[in-house]
Symmetry: C2
Subunit: 428 residues, 2 copies
């Protein structure tokens, strides 16, 4: 069987499963999810054995210690997956919500109701627990999933999916569609473009990982892709910022967890307060070993006074576009909120940006004109997260304009349809 034929079979099976998934009741879905959680814990030894195979291959391939750690499944991580599944079972069903309702003058009643998207392909790297997380969120939202994890995690991912499917079948019998959760069975890289060419079966692809992976997926896909390429997030300290609040937000946005997409990469400081604010924040960032890449104005200010502990170097043009995911921060002095907005819309990644100010008019302008998925006034960018937004769980964050934008939870894994309830209405 050619790779395309193999992917076509996988995708066609998923489409068939998606029809059956759409008609499961909330109770059936929750029972299946709880059974899956129990099964993962019960089969922990099997999962660890499959994972040991992956770890051995990974070590042979020369994966770094950090990569191997991400790949590893131990009892704690397996219980973590099971707990995640039970949490998803406890969340409200996102399918069947009435989003709009109207009765037309001819008596035709229209309802806009949420429905599953259908077949969702999730592409991700290394960590096998993503397999259980993503599959459970898709299952709860009535979608069939095709999972494509890192090739180094293939055994672990396949066994996680098999365990979940077997448990679902035990819980629901013939009502559980066998192909609700599938793992792409080959590490062949060409499987991805083949799968993502099947617009008749696949409704959505969500790539998660580094910018390179996501660009490659978006480039080859014929099906819609929801994604964020990177998180180049900004904090703008306005001339009317409370300095203590600005300092707390900047330190949090940069240092609380620098490796994540909603961490700040560039600090913009308003000209009138730059001389006062910059030396102070540079000292604090220096204590945390943050390297600063600064524009000329900031450099002049920082070289004038007491030398801060932070390592300082000039920022290159490319730096303003860069997601460091590290203890590195770009710093630029801008003249006013409009310059800040222009910088963010030009260099940013439309992810998460914040203004610190006491001035409502400038805050409103920033909130309106910064073209990003999440825009904050007097809060850290680090809140862009499904859990922090109260979504209960998150399958990803989107910076797209079509479909979901910002953190994506269960509701964002649904589409909608219009239902028309008539009494014989015809169009005149």
């Amino acid at each position: 069987m050619t790779l395309l034929a193999q992917m076509t079979t996988l995708a066609r099976q998923a489409k068939t499963a998606s029809r059956a998934l759409a008609s499961l009741t909330t109770d059936e879905k929750n029972r299946a999810l709880r059974a899956m959680a129990d099964a993962l814990e019960r089969d922990a030894d099997g999962l660890k054995a499959a994972n040991a195979q992956d770890m051995a291959v990974g070590a042979q391939l020369g994966l770094s210690a950090a990569m191997l750690d991400r790949l590893k499944l131990d009892d704690k991580r397996i219980s973590g997956m099971a707990r995640g599944l039970r949490e998803v079972a406890a969340l409200p069903d996102p399918v069947g919500r009435i989003l709009d309702q109207r009765t037309r003058p001819n008596g035709l009643r229209l309802q806009k109701v949420s429905v599953p998207i259908g077949v969702v392909v999730i592409i991700y790297e290394s960590r096998p627990n993503v397999t259980a997380d993503a599959a459970s969120l898709c299952f709860k939202s009535g979608n069939a999933t095709i999972l494509r994890g890192g090739k180094e995690a293939l055994h672990s991912n396949q066994l996680i999916a098999q365990t979940m499917v077997a448990a679902g079948r035990m819980a629901l019998g013939g009502r559980f569609p066998d192909h609700a959760i599938q793992v792409v069975p080959t590490p062949d890289r060409e499987a991805i473009p083949a799968l993502l060419s099947l617009t008749q079966y696949v409704d959505l692809c969500m790539p998660r990982g580094g910018e390179g992976l996501i660009r490659a997926v978006a480039e080859c896909s014929k099906v819609p892709v929801i994604k964020h390429y990177k998180g180049v997030c900004h904090v703008f300290v306005d001339r009317d910022a409370d300095p203590a609040m600005a300092e707390a937000i900047v330190l949090n946005a940069k240092c609380q967890r620098p490796a994540v997409c909603n961490a700040m990469e560039t600090l913009l400081v308003d000209q009138p307060v730059a001389a006062a604010f910059l030396p102070r924040i540079a000292a604090r960032l220096g204590e945390r070993h943050v390297q600063l890449r600064v524009d000329e104005t900031a450099a002049a200010i920082l070289s004038a006074g007491e030398k801060p502990k932070a390592e300082i170097r000039p920022a290159a043009e490319q730096d303003w576009f860069t997601e460091y995911n590290d203890y590195i921060l770009n710093v630029r002095v801008v003249d006013g909120v409009e310059a800040a907005i222009a910088h963010i819309n030009h260099y940013g990644s439309a992810h998460s940006d914040s203004i610190v100010t006491r001035d409502e008019a400038r805050a409103r302008q920033f909130l309106a004109e910064v073209d990003s998925a999440a825009v904050y006034w007097n809060a850290s960018t680090r809140f862009t997260d499904g859990g922090e937004f109260g979504m209960g769980a998150e399958i990803g964050i989107s910076t797209d304009k079509i479909g979901a934008r910002g953190p994506m939870g269960l509701e964002e894994l649904t589409s909608y349809k219009w239902l028309g309830f008539g009494t014989g209405q015809v169009r005149t």
Copy 2:
């Protein structure tokens, strides 16, 4: 300048305009739209002269009389465009609606608000009034438009857009962004893939027209495309249908306007009522000169009794997939609602489908399991239309699952963003 460079300039200008459009007030947008309407009527002679150029070229190119009629602009059509613009001015502003609102335990207040999508490319055929309609809907929803009509309408389209832009500038002065409405200035076919490769500037493409055009656009586009390829719509007459209601709905769905996408192409009749219903409906359809393409069971029933006036021939496999847009109807006898659903999900185009029945359980199953943008119970498929749905205006109909689905009005031309209102919240 190469074609790609030319398209890049167009798209970059549109992106800049979209930022300015996003901050226009509702009143400003409405004033501009009314000024544009007045200008189109005032410049009717100029528009007719530009259109005469297009008509002359079209006649030379050997366009059919029907094509030439679609291309023509006369006083009536120009007032129609102006009236359309005034109607759009009167509709509620779709931007700035609060779609969700929540306050987190830490006091962070989150608002999900509707925002313009950004830069929208509209690709369509012949009729120049689409230029004014599409541009006005995009303008009201705060989007910059790049319009690409049929090459035979280029002079008309360019002058319509220029007239609208000049009027907008008169009404709003410097607040009106010069590149809010642009027409692709070249008939070169390669302009479309060039434009739709510019993911950094273009947010959405909406192709409108025949299936060939739409497939070509979807195939080449790197930006999201919202579309429907075709409308293969069904009416299923269930065993518990009211026969008179079924007859009225079938006749309406097929004959009221056969050339549109929400007209019925296939009639499915439930086995137990086929012998009674089919001869009767065949006679009525025959009176309207509808050709029937029937499966074997229907053929046997129709050849048994009095010969109906309708022309009858056997349906080929391909016919079930076909949008005729004509007085042709496929007819198939199916055994029960599940067979009807399976037929529709396999052969249909996920556009509009209807069940006629008095049985609520079967109706609910049909509404739930038919995977189409609009699903009706006891009503004609012909209602899938922005006007009929009370949207006020329609820019297209989508059968996609990501983004808008079903009729698309002003609200469907928006995306959303999350605003976070804090008092210094940081993540712990």
